[in-house]
């Protein structure tokens, strides 16, 4: 009897092995992932352009996106092939991959690489070509609200976004204020996998680049194109807003947004030029958290946005050496007292930082600190979200921080005006809506 069993179980193991291996070779690899073989390689000559090469080898001048896609795919494995980020610009000497006629047809038909209407190169240097403007966007991954806030700076965002994770930092959903149809979106839980995203049938999924292995690859196996953006610090903002502009076929709006941010950064930087180190107060940013089982204060890593805006605003961050690289580092009162900085800013993402600061001011221990004695203990400003994080509001955070750290030099910054400009120009809100929806939530201005 146990012989039979043995045989049965061995058979089970073997069939698992077979099932595991067979489909890989039998099933057609999904588009965008398939290894296109080049029937010919072509080196670009003077006076060549892609449609000419396409006409010559593929018999159709309009089939040039297949050359772009095939060459870019080859480039991933073999860097002697060119990487074509703009089909209008090719250079003499570039090595181009010419796929077989069938493969070219398949490339043209597959949703990720069809026709040349929208072409975008994302932060991982991958080039995607969409035959039509992508209409159905899903933003996935973790902490996607901050990403969605950036996406909504484009006026067409509301129509295009079909699925997003619901925000958890605020009971009032900011996006519901700017998009009346926001409640009709599909809301994903915080870890949505390909199985949950596929039913939304997105044309494109926006992810942060660290999700590439975990979520990006499985999605691409389904034939769902993925575009990576990061938006974690000012430089990435410049780069990634431009990517979103390409993807939404609205580069003009991207430029407007970038100009808006750049003007304000420039204004703050100009106001702070010539500051000597003695003129810069020492500044401590503390996140107060009463979630979980204990009350804790923590400081952000040196590489995060909080450090950048403190420096831009004319302060010297004191916490950078204590902070570990990986994330918020909890610090005790002893450490805070040892720093005894000129100014302390208290951040609270989930409740009211002003109330926290009032409590601290009443605490005899905290009253001993230089910042408390000189009335330089502040709550970090927030409305829907705290202004210190890599959300679109970091530009408000920067201006606000400048008026606090260097009040004389930043005297020209009118914060009320800054808030109005931000919400009007970035999100199209009118002053009455700002007054009714945003200002009541304002804390610590």
């Amino acid at each position: 009897v146990s012989h039979k069993l043995s045989r049965f179980l061995s058979w089970l193991l073997i069939s698992i092995l077979l099932i595991a291996i067979v489909p890989r070779s039998i099933l057609a690899a999904p588009p965008g992932q398939s290894a296109v073989t080049c029937v010919e390689t072509y080196t670009v000559q003077a006076d060549d352009w892609l449609s000419k090469i396409s006409a010559k080898f593929l018999g159709n001048a309009l089939a040039y996106p297949a050359l772009v896609a095939a060459t870019n795919q080859q480039h991933v494995q073999d860097s002697t092939f060119a990487q074509i980020t703009n089909p209008d610009v090719i250079e003499v000497g570039w090595k181009i991959c010419v796929p077989s006629a069938e493969a070219a047809q398949a490339l043209l038909l597959s949703s990720a690489t069809l026709g040349g209407e929208v072409m975008v190169t994302d932060v991982l240097n991958r080039t995607l070509i969409f035959s039509q403007k992508p209409q159905r966007f899903v933003i996935a991954g973790r902490a996607t609200t901050l990403l969605a806030d950036a996406f909504y700076m484009f006026p067409e965002a509301g129509q295009r976004l079909i699925g997003v994770e619901r925000g958890n930092q605020s009971e009032n959903d900011f996006l519901a204020v700017i998009d009346p149809a926001y409640d009709d979106k599909s809301f994903l839980e915080s870890i949505a996998g390909p199985e949950q995203i596929a039913p939304l049938k997105p044309d494109v999924v926006l992810l942060k680049s660290f999700m590439a292995d975990k979520l990006g690859q499985p999605l691409e196996q389904l034939g769902i194109p993925v575009v990576y953006v990061d938006l974690e610090n000012p430089e990435q903002y410049n780069r990634d807003i431009a990517i979103l502009g390409q993807l939404l076929s609205n580069p003009a709006r991207a430029q407007e947004i970038l100009d808006f941010y750049q003007q304000r950064v420039d204004r703050v930087q100009q106001a702070m030029t010539g500051l000597t180190d003695e003129q810069k107060p020492s500044v401590l940013l503390l996140q107060h958290s009463d979630r979980g089982d204990e009350v804790a204060f923590s400081v952000p890593p040196a590489a995060w946005l909080q450090t950048t805006i403190t420096e831009l605003a004319g302060g010297t961050p004191v916490w950078t050496e204590a902070a570990e690289k990986g994330g918020w580092t909890v610090v005790g009162f002893e450490q805070i007292a040892a720093w005894n900085p000129d100014q302390i800013y208290v951040i609270n993402y989930f409740s009211d930082p002003v109330a926290v600061v009032e409590q601290l001011k009443a605490d005899p221990k905290w009253q001993e600190l230089k910042a408390a004695q000189n009335e330089q203990l502040f709550a970090f400003a927030k409305d829907f979200y705290s202004w210190d994080q890599p959300d679109s509001r970091w530009i408000l955070g920067l201006q606000w921080l400048a008026t606090k750290i260097q009040p004389e030099r930043a005297a020209k910054i009118d914060l009320r005006q800054a808030i109005n400009e931000f919400y009007t120009q970035m999100y199209g809100l009118d002053p009455a809506t700002i007054e009714a929806e945003v200002m009541p939530l304002m804390k610590g201005l």
């Binding site: 009897v1 146990s2 069993l5 049965f8 179980l9 089970l12 193991l13 698992i16 092995l17 099932i19 595991a20 291996i21 489909p23 890989r24 099933l27 999904p30 973790r142 994770e165 599909s186 809301f187 994903l188 839980e189 915080s190 870890i191 949505a192 996998g193 390909p194 199985e195 949950q196 596929a198 039913p199 049938k201 942060k208 680049s209 660290f210 999700m211 292995d213 975990k214 979520l215 690859q217 499985p218 196996q221 389904l222 034939g223 990061d230 974690e232 890593p301 590489a303 995060w304 570990e324 690289k325 990986g326 994330g327 580092t329």
Partner: protein, 335 residues
């Protein structure tokens, strides 16, 4: 009182479980959230290209990895329990899982985040974890063997957990940290054929070896003198079995993240149902483990518009079933 340890003969039970497993696997292919929650009609496979790709490039490998994960964790739990003559151990208690987690984090941080490298490092550190726990337990001079082994395992696990915590401190917050965090979270939602292919070379031989040597386990769970007199070289065979089981476990963990409790609960269930003879309990453990994890992973996939971490479901459902079965078995004895 008449003790009847099992009502069904082990052989029939095995056939039942094997059929059950095939049925569960078959049904699981059509369980998911596309095109609508819970169930996809098989007919859709012929019409809808997205459904085809979803099933063939994501659900199938995921199912198979879930199956292997369940079989491996249960087999490893059973091996550890018998070899160490301790019913309270499982990979998570002996530094194996935490060692694997540390190895993976270490690899992401300093060596590389390619799946093969992560797998190798996870395996090495898992073996190191087991070795440390065992050596410590041998060195200590108090308490019984069962207690010492558990204590040593807890200490080693704590060391490795602290190590993972430290590595998270050092990780680059923009790229490495999210990767480590995601890895530790566990879950099979990102599994593709590639992941399955990477783990097969360790998992299949490991499982096969444990399966083929299952009858030796009966001898190895005796004390050394008795085992030796029965013609076994206990040290070598124990070592071989442990390395095979732990390497297979580390390999699946390197894809799934740490999934707890399966290795403890399933072998107990198997013994409760099939008796103490490893000849039968080993395959019963593997089959129950496979069915159990595949079902848990189905639930993780379909219940919410987001993935539920697999470890939560295995602990919850596993513990409930376990308590229920133990209670009903007690009742049976009292009659």
């Amino acid at each position: 009182v008449q003790l009847t340890p099992y009502r069904v003969s082990p052989v029939r039970l095995l056939w039942l479980l094997a059929l059950g497993l095939l049925l569960v696997l078959l049904l699981s292919v059509f369980v998911g959230r596309y095109p609508a929650p819970y169930w996809m009609s098989p007919g859709l496979l012929q019409e809808d290209a997205l459904a085809q790709r979803l099933v063939f490039s994501l659900r199938l490998p995921r199912l198979l990895v879930a199956l292997l994960l369940g079989m491996t964790l249960s087999a490893c739990g059973a091996v550890l329990q018998m070899v160490f003559r301790n019913p309270l151990v499982e990979p998570g208690f002996l530094g194996v899982s935490q060692g694997a987690a540390f190895g993976a984090a270490f690899s992401i941080l300093w060596i590389g985040s390619s799946p093969v490298v992560i797998e190798i490092l996870a395996t090495l550190f898992a073996l190191l974890g087991l070795l440390l726990s065992y050596t410590l337990a041998r060195q200590w001079r108090f308490g019984g063997w069962a207690l010492r082994l558990i204590l040593a395992g807890i200490a080693v696990s704590a060391l490795f957990s602290a190590g993972v915590g430290l590595l998270k401190y050092l990780a680059d917050p923009l790229t490495q940290l999210p990767e480590i965090t995601f890895w530790l979270l566990g879950g099979l939602w990102s599994v593709t054929w590639r992941d399955l292919l990477y783990i097969l070379p360790l998992v299949l031989p490991g499982l096969a070896l444990v399966y083929l040597m299952r009858w030796r386990l009966n001898l190895l769970s005796l004390n050394d003198e008795t085992a030796f007199s029965l013609g076994v070289a206990p040290g070598r065979e124990r070592g071989l079995l442990l390395v095979a089981a732990v390497a297979a476990t580390a390999a699946v963990i390197s894809v799934s993240g740490v999934v707890g409790w399966v290795g403890l609960i399933v072998p107990h269930l198997a013994r409760r149902l099939g008796g103490a003879n490893a000849q039968f309990t080993m395959p019963i453990s593997m089959l129950i483990g496979g069915i159990f994890v595949v079902i848990c992973d189905n639930l993780a996939r379909i219940l919410l518009p987001g993935e539920i971490p697999l470890g939560i479901l295995t602990s919850l459902i596993g513990a409930l079933v376990f308590i229920g079965l133990m209670l009903s078995a007690n009742l049976g004895l009292r009659q």
